[in-house]
Symmetry: C2
Subunit: 345 residues, 2 copies
Amino acid sequence: MSESRKAGKKPATIRDVAAAAGVSVGTVSRCLNAPATVRPQTLDKVRAAISRMEFRPDSRAQNMRRRNTMTVGFVVDDITNPLHAETFKAADTEMRAQGYSLYLVNTNGLANEEAAAIDMLQHGRADGVIMTLNNETDPRTRQRLIDLRIPSVLLDRDIPLEIDAVLTDHAAGLLQAAHYLIGLGHRRIALLTASVDIRPGRERVRGFVEAFARNGLPVPQDLIRARSLSVDFGLRETTILMQQAVPPTAIIAAGNRILVGVLKAVQQRGLRIPQDVSLISCDQTDLALLYPGPITLVDRDIREIGRTAAQLLLERLGRAATGPAQRIIVPTRLILGGSCAPIRA
Amino acid sequence: MSESRKAGKKPATIRDVAAAAGVSVGTVSRCLNAPATVRPQTLDKVRAAISRMEFRPDSRAQNMRRRNTMTVGFVVDDITNPLHAETFKAADTEMRAQGYSLYLVNTNGLANEEAAAIDMLQHGRADGVIMTLNNETDPRTRQRLIDLRIPSVLLDRDIPLEIDAVLTDHAAGLLQAAHYLIGLGHRRIALLTASVDIRPGRERVRGFVEAFARNGLPVPQDLIRARSLSVDFGLRETTILMQQAVPPTAIIAAGNRILVGVLKAVQQRGLRIPQDVSLISCDQTDLALLYPGPITLVDRDIREIGRTAAQLLLERLGRAATGPAQRIIVPTRLILGGSCAPIRA
DNA sequence: CGGCTTCCTCGAAACGTTTCCAAGGATACG
DNA sequence: CGTATCCTTGGAAACGTTTCGAGGAAGCCG
């Protein structure tokens, strides 16, 4: 009996239920969607038939008729990045509580995959989309966002369009981090971070530069390496930096993948932290919290980012998507670990 | 003009295109799905209309009519676990190449959320499902799997049903790990791993026990702690173990989250690895590869797991889902790092 | 030139649900 | 007792696509 369903005939439809209960399809539908409008006695009859036949409405037909899918796309370049995974989880929790499911689209950071994802999502697969795009300037991407016909929320990207966004105050974080190092006597501070083509890179550089300005110090332009968030980038740049004639005395690894690369390089070269070089990172990853000891880092509430993105989207999905775009900025704060030491004068 | 679409009227349907091109809806449909069967001249005309009106077929209607969704569910307890994220990514890559998108459902390990996820997925939201369930014995879950009407693949779970599965040879891995430690002179070796209610726990304990048996040694039953894969579990058990009168000389943290907990405890107590205690872990996480130095670990090819799961599912989705269930076992291997030292006799 | 293929297109019928309108019966009220 | 009102239900029309059978046009052969 328990095996019956598997090999059994096709699933019951609302018509089958209607026939079995001796009512019309409309009535069955109402039993599901507006039970209050149907006579209790009828309701019982129908419900009995429903459970007897193990009927469950077919989502495909519901999507078709209701013109929505209760699904939201989450577009990201790499879900193995703990930052993205955490954001996804928080957004998922929030959306799921409202009955939404999430498509996760992993684009590998490729512009054409991002475009394809957006394309596919907006033509009847999703009611909205939350995304971290890899390139803010690509005109094709921009046009796609303009043409987008479902509400969307951008994560940490700054595109001058009427689109909701959740941003991190990276500039403040980097200002604080660099200021802290300067206070410890560091002057040759290296900054490794994303390209200035995307907001995190831009803002971090801005905060970094500002820290020197506020302290009346020249900015070590040669030590600003803003090109990528990858592990390889962190590894390569650290190696290059540390074999310079006058290597930096401190490194800010602004990006959790960059940190992995930096630490690899540090190990390869047998450097000690903080004796040989001070280090500041971003975001609380396992590695940042545990590497020899906790690393001093610029923290932010990643769960709040995911939650907020979901809430913004839910607002748009709820009432008619009116009102100007909202931009919510999440603060950062410096958490002291043991990876920074004062400069020995 | 570029803004037109956004606020503009509703999207064009296949009927609009047909009217614009002066053909019937059936012809437009064939232009999309079987261009070879339509006269080139007509094809051009229709394609022109399609691009002029920016028509894209509505997935909801396609899903409805075709009775599929080109969507697959990926059910997992916690996507922030790098193991799961990596598996997802590999499966996603494979499935996406065949035109499928993935729903990611994060269940937090709760049996009822797992059940709800399966329920929802199989009623018209997904064509198949890949899943890591949290409990192999829960009868409700089991019944749900029996009743499942879409093909599915289980990850690292051992349920006596006709369901495809991708498994890891944890027993071999743990046999090798424990054997290695025994060879270094260790006898009091602790094993921290999942509950024996799930396959990874069972298999790891089995391999561990076997190693002692093969070496003609008594099994340190009091040091086998098989209860959870969580960070907290690793932290708590390590703390307890290490303050025993005769603490273990080696710990096998069999689970990447457990490792985080173990390292936390190690730091809190100021222990040195491997001088004070040897350590073996599982899976190549950032932390395992970089913590002071690389940790000796039981490795496996996680990408292959995701890829294989996707392939198994694709086979079932392709032809009629016939043939007996397949169980594919992925091997493990020990990678030596610097976290183990010989016992000083 | 008629008949037979072959090629292409048309149009309608699904797919399973929701929703709207009308109709029926019961109840209330004058 | 008749009429207005309310409550409940039935039935049909959508939603946008795919698919299938039928039919028209054109080409080929005898």
